[in-house]
């Protein structure tokens, strides 16, 4: 299913590049929107690699530079915050412990900082609108929330300090730019992020763990032509 889509996109870029009449050189986009976890990171059951992550907020800045009509360079920096779903976590404890005792969960949020760079493919502007797809690679710092689970019978049954780790990050995204004037525009973007940070856990017999983090950014932003 993915291969035909990619082929169609490449073909359309090639054709439209030939027809391109105008090339924009450099653009800065400041955007903001929501972060939505997916895959294991969004799972809220006590399964392998479940992240118990909920939706959150993000801020970002993108730099786009078009060297030739349809191909360009892109660099981005962003910050995402996603909540740890305390209530789902608590309900899962009650379920797996067969409702034995009371469980109280306290947890913070996931915080992710990323800087990435990559390539983009762009259509020519048509009716003030242009489409872009981009693939980026980079480095991220993830702050894993402090988690503490207190059980009425056993005391603290799970505790993880707030820990952080740097890890490689990759993302795939698409943007729709609406050009208002020679200086400004509006931007709607969608991005899939993949990273795999490792964290330290002080508890014996555990040591460290990896957490696959996958999340989407859906943003709106302002375009500033440089």
């Amino acid at each position: 299913m993915k291969k035909p889509i990619i082929l169609i996109l490449l073909l359309s870029f090639t054709i439209t590049a030939v027809l391109a009449q105008k090339v924009r050189k450099r653009v800065l986009i400041i955007n903001s929107g929501i972060s939505v976890p997916f895959s294991e990171f969004a799972i809220k059951k006590m399964d392998y690699d479940a992240g118990f992550a909920g939706s959150g907020f993000n801020l970002g800045i993108d730099y786009l530079s078009t060297k030739i009509g349809w191909l360009g360079f892109t660099a981005s920096a962003g910050y995402s915050i996603m909540n740890f779903d305390n209530e789902s976590y608590r309900l899962e404890y009650e379920r797996v412990l067969n409702h034995d005792g009371e469980v109280e969960v306290t947890a913070g949020n996931y915080n992710i900082f990323k800087t990435v760079a990559g390539l983009m493919l762009k259509t020519p502007e048509f009716h003030h609108i242009e489409f872009l797809v981009n693939a980026q690679l980079g480095y991220s710092i993830t702050i894993h929330p402090e988690i503490k689970v207190d059980h009425s019978r056993y005391g603290i049954i799970n505790s993880i300090d707030q820990v952080h780790d740097g890890a490689l990050i990759s993302n795939l995204g698409m943007k729709i730019n609406y050009i208002i004037s020679d200086k400004y525009g509006l931007n709607l973007s969608y991005c899939l992020n993949y990273l795999l940070p490792g964290f330290h856990d002080d508890m014996p017999f555990i040591g460290s763990f990896f957490l696959p983090i996958r999340f989407q950014n859906i943003n709106v932003g302002f375009i500033f032509k440089l």
Binding site: Y48, P197, F199, D201, F210
Partner: protein, 337 residues
């Protein structure tokens, strides 16, 4: 110290990488507070009267128990299993893997009569633990080979996982009477120069729990002059049986009032030189059917949040008649009274 992602990881496929160590939802294992059937050892016959003792590693234990499955419902003999408890720290699932092993020690004491109430003072030496007292190797058990249940002691040696009995079981003349005695258990360090043991007897009519004190600087099986007294704090007008002492916790079975029907499991704690009034383990563990012969294993606190108790019950849903069940009990049970 953080774990860095390896540079050779292909950037675009980081999401495809599966990791060997996920985030865990439990710091330590939890043995379920609701009883589970020890299916690996139970049969359609009676399986009860167990003894568990930590074995060569913290992650395994030895299980001795009485069963009449080998005689197809006839007399009770001991059998021996090695058990591996494991707890899933992601979803709290708990299981005990068991396998049966031949054991010369239990074979040597098994007879055409009934052998019940096993109690070992020491099990296999831990391979890393050379400082343990390996000299105290006694196997106490109850047998009606003389017509009524009496307590015996068999010394044994252990070498390369091989239990070798002395071949001369000692009849505990200081404790045994013409009444029924059984289920001896040692309470260590109750007296510095005497050995304190607890057992059950019906010498006064109903079954009660008694304490016996050895002669000074002698073990109970070496003492002819044994001081015996009924443990009034834990006894009732009904039958009180199967005391098992671990550290300062005594667990036993009783059909006294205040239970949930039949024999229930009760516990008492030793503090300030006396046993507390017994507490019932509650309806999570006890039923209207019989619960019998509880034994406790103190688990490694770095591995489990609670201790393991094994008992027998004839409740419905088992393999038939009495089955062995496991359940988690609080480590701080002693402070609950």
């Amino acid at each position: 110290m953080n774990i860095k992602s390896t540079p050779v990881t292909l950037f675009l496929f980081t999401f495809l990488i599966s990791c060997s160590q996920p985030r865990l939802n439990f710091d330590r294992g939890i043995i379920p507070p609701a009883p589970g059937n020890l299916t690996g050892v139970n049969s359609s016959y009676d399986d009860y009267n167990s003894m568990i003792i930590t074995s060569t590693a913290e992650s395994q234990f030895s299980l001795f128990f009485s069963t009449n499955k080998t005689s197809y419902g006839g007399n009770f003999d001991f059998v021996f299993y090695v058990c591996y408890p494991s707890a899933d720290l992601i979803n709290a699932e708990f299981s005990i893997y068991t396998y049966k092993e031949e054991n010369i020690l239990v074979d040597s004491v098994n007879s055409p009569f009934n052998e019940l109430g096993p109690y070992l003072t020491y099990d296999r030496a831990s391979w890393w633990d050379s400082g343990s007292d390996e000299s105290d190797r006694r196997f106490f058990y109850t047998s009606d080979i003389n017509g009524n249940p009496d307590i015996f002691c068999e010394y044994y040696t252990l070498d390369n996982y091989l239990y070798t009995p002395s071949g001369n079981p000692i009849y505990l003349s200081g404790i045994n009477t013409l009444s029924d005695e059984g289920y001896l258990s040692i309470h260590r360090d109750e007296y510095p120069d005497r050995e304190a043991v607890y057992f059950t007897s019906n010498r006064d009519g109903s079954f009660d729990i008694y304490r016996a004190l050895s002669e000074e600087n002698k073990l109970i099986d070496q003492s002819a002059d044994v001081g015996i007294n009924k443990v009034e704090q834990v006894c009732s007008d009904s039958d009180d049986k199967c005391p098992f002492v671990k550290d300062d916790l005594m667990v036993f079975a009783s059909n006294r009032n205040g239970g949930f029907g039949g024999y229930d499991l009760w516990y008492s704690t030793y503090k300030d030189n006396e046993w507390s009034l017994p507490g019932n383990f509650g309806q999570d563990i006890n039923t209207e059917y019989d619960e019998f012969r509880p034994v406790i294993m103190v688990t490694n606190p770095d591995e489990f949040l609670n201790n393991l108790m094994i008992f027998s019950s004839n409740r419905p849903g088992g393999s038939g008649r009495f089955d062995l069940y496991y359940v988690g009990v609080n480590k701080n049970l002693s402070s609950d009274n």
